[in-house]
Symmetry: C2
Subunit: 391 residues, 2 copies
């Protein structure tokens, strides 16, 4: 197992404090596990308090021995009752909590710990931190990408006419797990539950669902109406395999196109247009323009290439983004989307996914997880991008 190095935690905490100072917070609690993992190195049942000055304190419910092994923090305190926590935090004036994800009842109860202090939202700060990945974080994403690559390379061996989308999804996930994929993907959302098996074949690619995506898929039932379904995969239809992989908490997101026998039009041509948009947007990003401008540029390109009606969905189902940040969650900043008035920066990682939908026919597209570097970018999901035809 790989543990988060102490220097990582120290640096992250320092940067957090700079942001806290600017936001006039003299303390912040982290009860949502993705974020306290980022700041402590452990995901055991615990919560973290970061004061503006002094050591961060990790309050551990269970399991202390594992928390000690995983976390380089020096102050790990067993939780007996919330009353005892009070003694450790002093009298802060303005305290942050993760108000975007913590349930209302939880916040109301927990904030009694600091009843006299003002309550503030610390999530914008931690999102701001997390959007820039360190070389350590990138190394974990590279390992996730290596797993995904092996999964995609396996597909020609297992894909067969007549197999159900969900069957293929299960086989790929099983293989990914044997390589170290953690099975669950994570996302900061009330509606969207992330999963690995977003496999849409033929018409299923043109079906919209609850998720904010150009193509939701049929899913398994009204209670799980997204992703792979029991539809059988046929010869000569586009098969979109959008498989996310996760290694030690770090995710990559990737899409490649497959077909049995041959890839029919309009999908073969539209796929090439998606690739062109993908790389021209990345090149444009190096000029330092804002994400909002990048998004508009991609829409212009789609129109010029003759796919304006199909780009990112059809009619009122179009989505307003072409890329989402990826890291510990599939919903990290940045977003190449409308109203995102900031440029991409060195250290950001995101999944860029130009996709086309043809009503009642299907969908195609490409997706890569990309790292912004100094004056360049690097595609982490370095699987070959040709359409793969299986016989």
């Amino acid at each position: 197992m790989i543990y988060t190095p102490k220097e990582e935690i120290v640096k992250r905490t320092e940067r957090l404090r700079e942001l806290m100072e600017k936001a006039s917070m003299d303390g912040a609690f982290f009860n949502y596990k993705i974020d306290y993992f980022y700041l402590s190195g452990t995901m055991q049942d615990a919560f973290l308090y970061v004061p503006l000055e002094g050591e961060p304190k990790l309050f551990v419910r269970r399991e202390m021995r594992r928390a000690r092994r995983e976390s380089p923090l020096s102050e790990l305190i067993p939780i007996r009752s919330l009353e005892t926590v009070k003694d450790h935090i002093g009298k802060p004036q303005r305290v942050g909590m993760q108000l975007d994800v913590l349930p209302y009842n939880f916040v109301m109860r927990f904030r009694k710990l600091f009843a006299d202090a003002e309550l503030a939202d610390v999530s914008p700060l931690i999102n701001d931190l997390r959007k820039i990945k360190s070389p350590f974080e990138v190394s974990l994403m590279e390992k996730a990408a290596a797993i995904a690559k092996k999964v995609y390379e396996k597909i020609p061996e297992v894909l067969q006419e007549g197999m159900r989308e969900i069957e293929l999804g299960g086989i790929l996930e099983s293989y990914a797990k044997s390589l170290g994929h953690e099975g669950l993907l994570r996302v900061r959302s009330l509606v969207f539950e992330a999963y690995s098996w977003h496999i849409l074949s033929g018409k299923a690619g043109s079906i919209v669902s609850q998720i904010n995506s150009p193509m939701g898929g049929l899913g398994m039932s009204p209670a799980f109406p997204v992703g792979a379904s029991r539809k059988k995969i046929r010869r000569g239809e586009p098969i979109m395999i959008d498989f996310g992989a996760c290694y030690h908490g770090y995710q990559v997101d990737e899409t490649r196109m497959f077909a049995i026998g041959y890839m029919p039009e309009p999908f073969a041509g539209a796929y090439e247009a998606c690739r062109e948009i993908h790389y021209r947007v990345l090149d444009k990003a190096l000029e330092g323009v804002t994400c909002s401008e990048l998004f508009n540029y991609s829409v212009e390109l789609a129109h010029k290439l003759g796919y304006g009606d199909n780009y990112l969905g059809y009619s009122h189902h179009k989505v307003n983004f072409i890329a989402h940040g990826v890291g510990m969650e599939l919903s990290d900043p940045p977003f190449i989307a409308v109203n995102q008035n900031y440029p991409l920066e060195e250290g950001m990682t995101f999944a860029i996914e130009p996709k086309m939908v043809f009503p009642r026919q299907g969908a195609c597209g490409i997706e890569n997880t990309v790292l912004m570097e100094k004056d360049s970018y690097r595609v982490l999901t370095n699987m070959d991008e040709k359409i793969i035809i299986v016989d």
Copy 2:
């Protein structure tokens, strides 16, 4: 696909209104998808408003066509802006929201829709409703149980010495998906992410983790520190396979014990003790005693059988429950646990799981999903309960 029948939705809504009237709520919003699915039949991106009188209104963001097909409700309204929602809800005085799960920021923003009304928590009401399953709901749980049974029957074919826990988990999940298992399990919790592959072999069964369970397992990394791990499964060690299955949103939870070659002591004997506790507690439940008494009774039995130190964990790692409700979430009421001062009732479904942990050695136990009937109970997960020895 199976859609929720109209009579189901009508009955659930009627019962909800009785509870709302008692709680003096003249309207309630359901934004958390498990609950609005229960009351509307669709899980498309939407939210539901149930007024004390008049038709429930489902506000749909996407996808309206699928929502119409899935939901028998008559008033489906596309959401253009929250302002337009205001026009549909009138002037309620006291409005419920799902305050146990909805994020703080979301509630604060959403409640502007009814800024002059008092805010109340509707989750205790919906939990109260959902804890009693209808025959329709039970039929879906029976189908989930049939999938789980086939998964357990498959294990002797695939379990091999030297295979990793996660490999076995992947193979079983893949097989379950091919049978209709939906892949994701659901739970109403900030900390616990549910998953199907809780496979713990040998010493891994004695490892505690973030989850409120006697045995958490090693997991895959510090970022996913629960469940199956990369540990290799060996001959002559207890292999606990705790596999949940989900069909059309309804789950069952189940545990059976396996070994390669032979099941060593103390696990073989302790497993029989677990079975005895399991059935004696269920028999006692028919006397109408409270869940708290049932829990204490189970602890007494464990002591009498000589496993007091091992029952439900060891030393300070013991958990305080022996059963959790199961349905659309793994955390439904009832709980056979301390401080649960109500009896089991007809129509309740729950997973009862007496388990024993032996420090540094491993764990064993049984788990069944059970339905309370009039003056009897029925085990839905009707897989054979013998320890299965694979050669």
